[in-house]
Structure formats: C-alpha cells, structure tokens
C-alpha cells in the first residue's frame, strides 16, 4: 500500500468528502426504502470527473487510473453500495471495458460517453452456465449489411432498468459454436426487462433480461466485425473487470460497516464500560481490521496490474474472494456487536447486512472465482 500515490490519496479525500455531503444517512434510508436513488447523484459524480478515471485522454477520459477508480468505488460503497454499483458499471464496464476491447469507433464514441457518465453498461449473461448462454444466428443471408439475431435470457442483471446497454455473450447456434460478445442497446426491439426485487443493494435494481431475436449488426459486436466468434477471451476479461469492481465494492462495504460499528462500540456502555473494551469484541475488531487491510492490499494489487496493462484475472479473482468474505463477515459481526439496536431499521448495520448478503453471487459468484484460481494452479 506504500505505493498509493499522492494523487490517489487526494482522490480518496475528495470522494470521501463528496459522499459525506451528498449521501447523508437519513437520505439513504429513504432511497433504500424506495428502492431508488436520485439520478442527480450519478450526474454529479460524472461532472466531477470520477467516471473519466478509467478512460485515457485520447478517448475522452482523464487518463487511466484504475487504482483511483477502485478507491472511488470503495469510498462510495462504504456508505451506499447501490451508487458504487452505478459508478462501477459506468466507469469500469462502460469506460474501461470499451476502451480495452472496443473497436476504434466504439472506443472513441462509447468509452467517451461512459467517461461523461452517460453510458451505463451491464453484463447480461454472467450468471449463466455455458449451457444457458445466449445464442445468435445469422439474419436474412441476402440482407446487407450482415445481421445477427440474438436469443437468450439472463436472470439477475444488475441495473437492468437503468442501463443503456447490455454486454451479452452469445454462442453461434451450431454445436460447439464460438462466443461473440454483443453490445445490445437496451432500447432495441426484442429486448424485454422485468424487475426482480431483492432485499439488498436497493436502488441498483435487478432485472430479468430476455432477448427475443434481437437484430444486431457488426457494429454491435464488442470489438467490431473482426471480433465475431472471438469473444471468449474478451468475455474472460470482462469477468475479471467485474471481479475487480466487486472486490472494490466489497472492500468499501467492509470498511463502512467496520467504521460504523467501531463508533458504536466505543459509545455503547454496558456493565460500566464501552462494549468495545470487552475482549470478546475487542479481538473481533482487531481481526476485522486485519481482514480489511488484507483485502485492501489484494484490491490494490489487482488494480495496479490493470493500470500496468498486465493480465489481472487471477489477482482480481483473489481480491474478489477475500474482499467478499471480509464484507460479509464484518457485516454479520457488526450486527451482533450492535445487539438489539442492530436489528432495528433505525441503524444502518441491517442495511449493510442486506447488501453484503448478495455479494456471494456478484460478478460470477465466489465459486467461479475459486474455480478460476484452482485452474491456474493446474487443478
């Protein structure tokens, strides 16, 4: 962590101040209950340039600083996970992925839009097993230009109601067909989104996305026409990005619930002393702080690899696993340490618990991350 730059220290301070000012806990209560937060929050984040941190200047960003973007995601998630999700889907999936994997045109137009906070992208298909992956077939063979018809369904698509675009991996219909990653505009005919309410991360809604013969052109392939049937590696890269951003979000949640609980444990008196002083709780705090620090190092390592254009698949999987575990553990410990008060809707610890409960499934799930790491060990 000694390698955190001065610039990123300032990023952390700036975003922390912004969150404290723009996301008061009382407002979050309302947003959580309503399952929606104001659009203005994202617009403000974009205006301050936070969404541009994952895109280089030549493509309309402010220069790539993925470690900084992870810090932004972490700090927002420390207070309000749904907004952090909105941010990562904009900056990482809209900006970073498009710049890394898009065709020259896509890089210049779409990544730039994401940098301005106007192009929210979400993967649809990441939860599915290979057998359930969407399929595409060629449209009218006589037709010019070439069209592709995509069919498929994804069950739990994050921010499906707000996204401008779905990243959809689809196999060619023939047996053993290769994978192409499509950029499916959310308003294209044949795209249907149905809301799936959940108990946590409310405001960043889930949707079931159904694609019923959606007609797409070569321009709608991530990477353009040449990338057709060569999407396997691109999809792996997208999964790695998803893991990195989930890791940053989980790290933030862990830190947020930890700080929130620590403040409480210093103030709450039972048997004549602050409850945090009882060794049974005191040592839990010591452990939690180590867990968070370890997860933070893993996230920073993965982000550094990404900043240096090195492969970060393994690092992202490791960070995602450890940060996800830390978040869930800190949230559950926090709930216990708050005692009866933690169970009331008046305190935020219950919200952290509801949010953390969904982290096991985020970004392809914990199991897939373990699988990935084991495979790299040759197992």
């Amino acid at each position: 962590m000694s390698e955190i730059t001065l610039e990123n220290k300032m990023v952390r301070e700036a975003i922390r101040d912004w969150v404290a000012k723009e996301c008061p806990r009382d407002n979050i209560h309302e947003w959580d209950a309503a399952d929606r937060f104001p659009d203005t929050l994202g617009k403000k984040l974009a205006r301050l340039g936070f969404c541009a941190m994952t895109v280089s200047e030549e493509n309309g960003g402010e220069g790539r600083n993925i470690q900084g973007a992870c810090i932004v995601a972490e700090e927002i998630a420390a207070r309000f996970l749904p907004l952090a999700r909105w941010y990562t889907h904009q900056a990482f999936l809209g900006g970073l992925v498009l710049e890394a994997l898009g065709s020259p045109i896509q890089r210049r137009s779409l990544a730039a839009e994401a940098a301005r906070g106007r192009w929210l992208v979400t993967p649809a298909g990441i939860e599915e097993t290979q057998a359930e992956m969407a399929v595409y077939r060629l449209g009218d063979p006589q037709g010019q230009p070439e069209t592709f018809l995509v069919h498929g369904e994804a069950a739990f698509v994050t921010l499906a109601d707000q996204a401008q675009c779905f990243l959809v991996p689809a196999r060619a219909e023939n047996p053993g067909g290769a994978v192409t990653v499509f950029l499916v505009p959310a308003d294209r005919q044949g795209v249907a989104v149905a809301a799936v309410p959940k108990i946590g991360c409310r405001g960043a809604g889930y949707g079931r996305v159904a694609l019923d013969g959606v007609a797409l052109g070569a321009d709608d392939i991530l990477g353009g026409g040449e990338a057709r049937d060569r999407g396997e590696a691109a999809w792996q890269r997208i999964v790695a990005v998803c893991r990195l951003m989930t890791a940053a979000e989980a790290l933030g949640l862990a830190r947020g619930v930890f700080d929130y609980t620590l403040t409480y444990a210093r103030q709450r008196i039972q048997f004549g002393q602050a409850i945090g002083k009882f060794a049974a709780l005191r040592n839990r705090f010591a452990e939690m702080s180590c867990d968070i620090e370890a997860a933070g190092l893993l996230v920073a390592q993965a982000a550094r690899c990404a900043d240096s254009d090195l492969a970060f698949h393994r690092e992202a999987a490791a960070a995602r696993l450890k940060a996800g575990e830390a978040a869930l553990r800190c949230a559950m410990q926090g709930l216990q340490i708050f005692g009866g008060y933690g169970y009331t809707m008046e305190y935020d610890v219950q919200r952290y618990v509801r949010d953390a409960a969904g982290l096991g499934a985020a970004a392809d799930g914990e199991e897939a991350a373990r699988d990935h790491i084991a495979a790299l060990l040759g197992l």
Binding site: F271, G339, T344
Partner: protein, 381 residues
C-alpha cells in the same frame, strides 16, 4: 440417560406440523411478514386448536407439558413462520410460564384458565434503552403511593407490548442491583402506558416496542407473586431462563431445518447439471457440515431439556444450547445466502426471510457473548 420423545410428544409434533401445513402456506408467511402486524388471526387458530394448553398445569385446564413440549411446538412453528412462535410466546412463555412459575395462587387462578383459551396476551418488559445485556441495571422506578405503586420509566424492545393485555414489568424498588428488582403485572390499558412498535430487519409482526410508563398506577397485589414478590424480580427471572434459552434454541433449529429444505434441493439440482460432474463436491460438503452441526446442536438442545425436566443442574447445558443453536442457525442462513446467491437474495425467496429472522436469536434472551460468560463461570474460569 433417556431422552426419547414420548408418544404424546410425538403426537404434539404431528399436530403442530399439521397446523403448519394447513394454516401457514408459504404465501401466508410472506403476507404476515409484508404486513408487519401482529398475526391475531393465526393466534386465534392456535387457541382454537388447544395449543395454548400445552404447558399449563392440568389443574388449570392445561395439558401439563414441560419445556420439551414447548420446544417441539416452537421448533415446528418456526419452520414456517418464526414470528408466530414469538407471538405464541406472549401466551405460552410470558403468560403461562411466568404465572405458573412465579405467580401467586390468586394470579394463577385469575390468568391461567384465560391463557389456555387464548383470551389474554402478556409481554415481558425487562430491557431498557441503557440496560440490555446488563439487565440488572434497569432504572424504571416503582414508588409506593397510597398503598399501591406508581411506575415511571422507559422500556426498549418489548415484544408484544402494544398487543398485550398485561405487561410483566421489571422495576427498581430498592438500590441493591439484584435484590432491588420487582416485577409488576401492569394492565396495558392503564393511563400512562404507551407502546410504540419498532421497525426491524426481521421477525416482522412481533410488535416489538419501545414502552413509556408515565405515572402508571398498579396495586400491591399486582406484584408478580403477590406482595411477597417485592424485590424478588431477579430470582424469579432466573427460574425462567433455562426454559427461555431452550425455547429460543428450538426456534433456531426450526429455522435452520427449513432453510435446508430450500438449500438441499437447490444444490441437488445444480450438482446434477454441473459440468464437469463433481464440480459441486465442495458445496455438497459445506451443506453436509451444516447439516451435521445442526444435528449435533439439536441433540444438545433436547439433552439439556431432559436435564431440566429431570431437575438436574442445567445452566451450563442450556447456555451452551442457546449459543450453539443461535450461532449455527445463523451460519446456515449465511451459507445458504452465499450458495444460493441471487436465488436467495430475491424478495420472492423465503430463504431471505429466514436469513433476516435468524440473527436476533444470538442477541435476544442473552447474547452469545453473555451465554459464553455464563458457561465460562460454570467451568470455573
């Protein structure tokens, strides 16, 4: 050592299961939770089927059951709708158990027959905003006035406090921390009694309230146990703790069991479809560990109950049971959320409901840390 269930106990389990099957389909449970109001309709049905007789002495029209019968009932109800176990506790535990254990004869005669019929609800008011784990530090004051008493103070997290007819209210009547507590049977219709329900993560419909006592008048005979009950509140409570721990443990066991009924088919289906085959081995093993731990906890729970019914010393065993069952059920819920992922996180899943219900069981009735403190003491630590 013999703690097999008697035929009557097996019959009670079957009867409770039948009730659950008939009256609490999944949609009903989800509706009670969504409404977040006390389930009076289901309580009336429990009364009509005679469930509230289960632990009342035969002399008062009850079935004369022990803590084992209570556990069977709470375990089975918790498999469908945990909060109904709690609201039933407003009759079975805070009503019948308190009165049969600590009530004067007059109080037993007045209340037990009505409790059996489900005509009355009680609540138990001990916790205060600043007195939770350190319950004996309560400050709610009862002062003698005109041959009676006047109660002033605030209680916190009192389940059933707005629905109840009688609030068993623990007050400070002398400076001694443990020998200065008196429990009063407060009529909740009395002027100055106000209960405000609290919104919470789970156990919705339990009517858990903040309660304000503003010059609430009670008669000397309303001391639990009659006038001799003065300053006896703490020892009276101690007599109830083994039972309370075991009953809450039974709730935890029921919840864990029900989560398995969702988790196991989910894993079975995923495992069958997994490519390569065997990919789910690790998850299967995690499920196996959980099932094993719950089975062990369940054995300990009914063993501890047997000790209680045999009159053997059992503080250690009931405290072990309470912490083990609550923590194990919480672990089951957390693991189910991890393994089932979005399928459990979605509002329509009943697993998320149990996940939100379960964490209070390691807090209410003495936190896991407090149980461990008690166990440590019994070990001479």
């Amino acid at each position: 050592m013999d703690h097999r269930f008697s035929p009557q106990q097996e019959a009670l389990r079957e009867k409770t299961r039948a009730f659950v099957k008939e009256e609490i389909p999944e949609e009903k449970a989800a509706a009670v939770e969504a409404a977040d109001v006390f389930p009076h309709d289901l309580m009336a049905k429990l009364a009509a089927q005679g469930f509230f007789a289960l632990n009342v002495p035969r002399d008062y029209g009850g079935d004369g059951g022990t803590v084992v019968e209570e556990m069977i009932f709470f375990e089975e109800i918790s498999k469908a709708l945990p909060v109904l176990a709690w609201t039933a506790g407003d009759v079975i535990l805070y009503g019948s158990n308190i009165i049969k254990t600590n009530g004067s004869q007059a109080q037993q005669q007045a209340y037990l027959p009505r409790l059996v019929k489900g005509e009355m609800l009680f609540c138990f008011a001990l916790t205060e905003p600043d007195a939770g784990s350190d319950a004996a530090s309560i400050q709610t004051a009862a002062d003698p006035v005109d041959g009676g008493w006047v109660i002033n103070g605030n209680k916190m997290f009192i389940s059933g406090a707005s629905a109840a007819h009688i609030a068993v209210t623990n007050t400070r009547t002398a400076p001694s921390k443990y020998q200065g507590i008196t429990a009063f049977l407060v009529d909740t219709g009395s002027p100055g009694y106000k209960a405000i329900p609290i919104k919470k993560l789970g156990y919705k419909g339990s009517d858990t309230c903040e309660v304000v006592y503003d010059r609430v008048r009670v008669a000397a005979n309303d001391i639990l146990g009659g006038p001799e009950g003065l300053n006896q509140g703490w020892p009276q409570m101690m007599r109830l703790l083994n039972g309370e721990r075991l009953v809450l443990s039974a709730c935890a066991l029921g919840i864990a069991e029900r989560i398995f009924s969702h988790l196991i088919p989910f894993v079975r289906q995923r495992s069958a479809a997994a490519r390569p085959a065997g990919r789910y081995q690790d998850i299967e093993h995690r499920v196996v560990e959980l099932v094993t731990e719950v089975e062990a906890a369940r054995r300990l729970a009914y063993y501890a109950a047997w000790r209680v019914t045999e009159g053997k010393p059992s503080v250690k065993e009931t405290s072990m049971t309470k912490y083990l069952c609550a923590e194990t059920a919480k672990k089951v819920a957390v693991e189910a959320m991890r393994i089932m992922g979005n399928h459990a996180w979605a509002v329509q899943s009943s697993v998320q409901r149990f996940f939100r219900d379960v964490p209070i069981l390691s807090v209410g009735g003495g936190t896991s840390q407090i149980q461990k403190n008690i166990i440590a003491k019994t070990l001479g630590l």
